[in-house]
Amino acid sequence: MPRDPDPIDPSARLARRRLVGLLAAAICGLGLAACSQLLTTAPEAGDVFDGPVDGLSSAELAAFVEGDAQFGKPFSAAEGLGPIFNNVSCASCHSGDGRGRPENALTRFSLGLDPAHHLGGPQLQDKAIPGAQPETVPSGVDQSRRLPPPVFGMGLIEAIPEADLLANADPADSDGDGISGRPNYVMPPEFMAAHLPVGVPVLGRFSRKAQVSSILEQTVAAYHQDIGITTDFLPVENSNPLASAATEAADRVADPELPAATVHSVVAYLRMLAPPAPGELTATRARGRDVFNAIACASCHVPSFRTGTASIPALSNRDVALYSDLLLHDMGDELADQRPDGQADGREWRTPPLWGLRIMRDFLNGNAFLLHDGRARTLSDAISAHGGEAAAARDAFLALPQSDRDALLDFVGSR
């Protein structure tokens, strides 16, 4: 309870009342005038990773908002989390829908081409709800640490015609430029049977080794492997095969824990996520772009594609400034993880898109975590780690005059 107020001299009351009236009017006026300043301001639409693409209908935007909520929804053990898992929500790994940090990198492991299901492969789940046993990396397996990649722009990537991607493939390096990108054809999992022909390999476009062919496949697998949430698509819990069978009962939520509709909602959200806008093309950056092309960075980091017809009209016939060919390339010994994935061997990685680098640090508390495991903290470090097919481009970069190198880095960092 507030203290007793001081009594006021009656002769001063009138003057006080006038003063209070004036002050109140002034405060109200200032408050109304500055209302927008009193509250917070939103970042520009192109300065976020979680904005929708332009041109969506109201109904599509409503679906976007619903999917956003599901993407951000964390799960508790009482809601089905686990029994083994890596994190509690999609958004817990993809910061602001961008890339993750080394602390939440995933460990993939296998025995050569064998995904090592009997040992808990192909992904380590190092968290477990009470009563269950988290996994540890078995000895003698091939393992690879992988940073969660950004998730924006997936719908645009999906809408690029396959023929356009294959046009850049040159598996035998028939043009002799030292670059031999090749597609990763992967066998879709059984739960995709309703969407794809059974037993027919399809082009992989997503994930670090292009081992995932569709947003739906990625979403279902992430719920199952990363969060331990069963769905109508994968209704049986992921378990730790090296743990006692009795501990699997720790997850008492009936399976499937999530209906197909929710999964589709998240898929629609991911499909409609826009890439951030690139920065202004200044004179320096224009020079950097020319250098980027001249030293053949653009041979793999293909600047742009155009989408075909998509199920969402706003994704159709749009230019996509991806800076990737989405193909596999031998990146040399330093980056090799010696772990195959689909047709990708242990030295090959999908060319990572460069879009979004401009605001990457805004969502990682000022940090940059580049390459598949986040080992590089600057663009220069990342380029220096290139090898294999990219060795010539790397050497050319390192041999550039400082001003050209700075211009190139400025250009790439503004995408």
Binding site: M1, P5, D6, T40
Partner: protein, 398 residues
Amino acid sequence: MSRTHVRIAGALALWLLFACTAATRALAQVPDTTAAIDRPFVPGGYDDKPHLTGLFGRIAIGGYVEAHAFTEQVDGATEEAGFLLKRWNLLVSSRVGERIQVWAEVEFEDGGSEIVLELAQMDLELHPAMNVRGGMLLVPIGRFNLAHDGPRNPFTDRPLLATELLGSALSMPGFGLFGRVPLGDAARATYEAYAVNGYHDGLLLDSPDGTRLPLGARNPEDLNASPAWVSRVAWNPGERHEVGLSGYTGAYNVFRTDGLDVDERRTVRVAALDARTTFVGLDWNGEAAAIRVEIPSGLSGLNASRQAGFFVETTRSFGQGWFGGMPEAFLSAGARFEGIDFDRDLAGDSQIQLTAGVNLHPSREAVLKFDYGRSRSRDRFNNAAEGAALKLSLTSYF
């Protein structure tokens, strides 16, 4: 009978012995009526309700209502906006004979979507320095949890420390002792010491956001059959000044079932310091708490084992007589600075907030509050988000 049951029985027997001894001595003494003893046990708390009115013989009844209008934004997007009947609380007390008093409070929260028996305790008054209490108790972790009525709170919202970290209003079934010891004409010390059901494992299993004690707070039947212990000792040098120290410890998980050790025993420990005073013409109130939770190995790195929070607020009343038609009316203004850290082992997962408020009190029991708050929260990636809120609330005892 398990070791836990033996401990409980032993503790109860000890209390009973103390109580009987104290009662025998008390009955032979003239009751102490110093000012320090006569003041409410917790100013603004269960025995300091201005509008409790006699109804049917020995029953007194009253309550308070709290209505909010608000808009909240985070990074330019409106998170919440609207109107809410935040609380409608019914308070009842009854003196049953000379030495027995019963207190109860039922809370209808968020428009009635949650109905909680917040308080239902019986006091057996043996001596000012030693009394027995049992029932649904307000858990004495910090002072705010003991005195949190809307008309007493100078701001629309309760402190983040209370709502987000500790789970105020935090009440648990329990049993124990309380008392006040005069230390002169005005000064006194008070204490409360209870065994309670304690937090349960919902603080991990029901919480998708990491460790959250409020989600493990409702434990009407002790799930692990293991009592938690909580105590607060306060020193009041005068009516407007108080320093309190609280501690809580107890297992939260089911670790023993049917005589079998089915899990490791994992505990929650809380330490809290609270203080209020008057200084340079302003009323000051503050509280800080540190929490430790033992986390199973499968959740380490994801669920916090260490949390902390604080708030400091200052208010001043002025302007009585400025409102011609309301001679009792006055104004108050204040500011609150607070911070909570959901995971002290992470750089992020925290929030700081500054709130400024101006209140019009048409009477001493009713308040119209206007608050403006700015906050900065950090996610687990340590990315910052700016928040702002405008809140208007109307609250009164009845």
